[in-house]
Amino acid sequence: MSQIPVKFRIVQVISQIEGVSNQQILGMLKIEYPLDRSVHEKGVEDYLLTLKAVGLIELTNVTLNNKGKLKQYYKITDYGASRMKYIS
């Protein structure tokens, strides 16, 4: 199966699993894109911030993990869902 771009995959994951966390997303991507060195914590965080700023995804909840880092849970917005036609 040919892969979709990393940022597309993040939106797709959020649209399929409501309330998925940033750490779960990172874990999934690391398995799916083992050769992409750009798949790391900061890279994924940057994608999530731009997706949130333009209104494709939104936060459902935020907690602190045991290392004092933000654990964020996301869901797709109606606008984001309307853009899923571009992701197959």
Binding site: S2, P5, F8, S38, A53, V54, V62, Y86
Partner: protein
Amino acid sequence: MDQKIQLLLQKRDLAFAKKGIGSGLFTGAAWGLDGVLMGMVLGLAPFTNNMSIFAAPLVGACIHDGFAALWLFIHNVINGKWRDYARTMKTRPANMIMLAAILGGPIGMSGNLLGIYFAGASYTAAITAAYPAIGAILGSIFLKEKVSPRVWAGIVLAIIGSFIVGFVPPEGSAYPHFYLGIGLAAVAAIGWAIEGVMSTYGMDLVDSDIAIGIREATSFFVYVFAILPLLGGVAYQILFESFTTPSGWYIAVIGLVGGTSFLSWYRAMNMTGVGRAMGLNVTFALWSVFFGWLLNNLQITSNLIIGVVIISLGTILTIGNPKDLVNLRSR
């Protein structure tokens, strides 16, 4: 959510917004430097042999975008993103980015150069400087971007300032095809504005670093296979001659400055919205005065100083309060 989490979230969102504004300011400065350097190189052989008034700057733009595409590809290899080029090319948003590239790159640039030829540099600069306003209007319609009155005021001031910086009294009736030139300048302004809005729509999904890589490569190929053939053999002659002199290689290095500027421009549009990023990009007029003075003995006149002061005020208003930037669009 407890207070500590909210503070951490706010801090993170604010840092993101500030980074976007930083990119927007940087793109203006780098673009100003790029323009001054390109102007200096286009004054060297083989670009000055009067073989064709359009061919020389368009060949320069072709080489510039080709090398910018190469440097951006290397940047994406270093950052481990290069595999996304091929994956992205198969998607519909990539087609939008390529179409945007053609509108903003070869079409916008040709409109600008032909505008200068038919209507003179000052009127063309005045019209093309309006592109951020057109971009902000299109952004608020098609992307539902929030543009506050203060940001509008900032964009308008930055445009007025760029107009004053670029304005030189017109030289009588030397332009028999004046209105054609004005129309072509408008094509450039609209092309650049649509480029911003279309590519930003595409970048909702496409990584901005990949988007700009695709944009520069598309621009280069359209110049080589569509624009240069229209200009005839003279264009290829200049292209090949430029690499037997230092000029072509100078442009290769300038492509690094241009590529960096484009990278920041696309990042800024993706992070702070089209209206604001274009309002910040237009500060290149201010920077081109500074770099022109520093590198090319530009004489500082009173209208340059007035224009620069107005651009600076407009820029401060355009940046506004980064706290307003956390959600870019109203839905």
